[in-house]
């Protein structure tokens, strides 16, 4: 699994408290302007079916099997720039991404949320409703 984490992102993640118990959980769920969006949380509970896909010191990246296929060629960076602020999760396999970079699309179907094996069509909009589009 080719996941790239920049030194800046790694430092920021460790500042947030990652250690041998706490890890970064990344999931892919339908949503955002382009179909997929990454869900990235700090978690400390390994669920059935979870796998560790990246490990470097105290930084571990864990994902469920359904989302794992979308971690290939994932890049995680961190920016202080207000326009592209915070953690940037970029999928280099993406064929389309929305303007703010928060969502992407690949040639694959969108996985259903909740870890089932059923694929569902991509949903539209940015997912928040802040723009009033949904």
């Amino acid at each position: 699994m080719a996941i790239e984490v920049t030194e800046t992102a790694k430092g920021k993640l460790l500042e947030l408290g990652l250690d041998q118990e706490k890890f970064l959980r990344i999931g892919v769920i339908p949503g955002g302007c382009s179909g997929f969006t990454y869900d990235a949380v700090i978690d400390d509970f390994i669920e059935d079916g979870d796998q560790v896909f990246f490990e470097s010191g105290d930084l571990r990246i864990v994902s469920d099997q359904q989302s794992a296929q979308y971690l290939e060629r994932l890049s995680i960076d961190y920016s202080d720039d207000l326009v592209q602020a915070g953690f940037q999760l970029t999928n280099k396999n993406a064929v389309k991404s929305c303007g703010c970079g928060s969502s992407f699309a690949t040639d694959e179907a969108v996985p259903a949320s909740g870890g089932t094996d059923e694929a569902v069509p991509a949903s539209g909009g940015c997912g928040s409703g802040g723009c009033g589009s949904h």
């Binding site: 700090i42 953690f87 999760l89 303007g99």
Partner: protein, 71 residues
């Protein structure tokens, strides 16, 4: 004991701009004989006075203000 997962992504997106809005804004700034010079002149002044993050903060504040006010 496990704790609730904490998101690192800064929350959901708040506002988005569609392609037509951006095209209209670009046309107003670049082609409109009355508004164009005012917008471009203000942009040049802001680029001299403010840092990139200050301009971003100003832009967000202007959008927020436009969305919440009627004037």
């Amino acid at each position: 004991m496990s704790t609730a997962p904490v998101s690192i992504k800064g929350g959901e997106s708040v506002y988005c701009i569609n392609e037509k809005q951006l095209a209209d804004a670009t046309r107003l700034a670049n082609e409109d004989p009355e508004s164009g010079p005012k917008i471009r002149g203000t942009m040049q002044e802001l680029e001299k006075k403010l840092t990139r993050n200050e301009r971003a903060a100003l832009a967000f504040m202007i959008i927020e203000d436009l969305r919440t006010s009627t004037s």
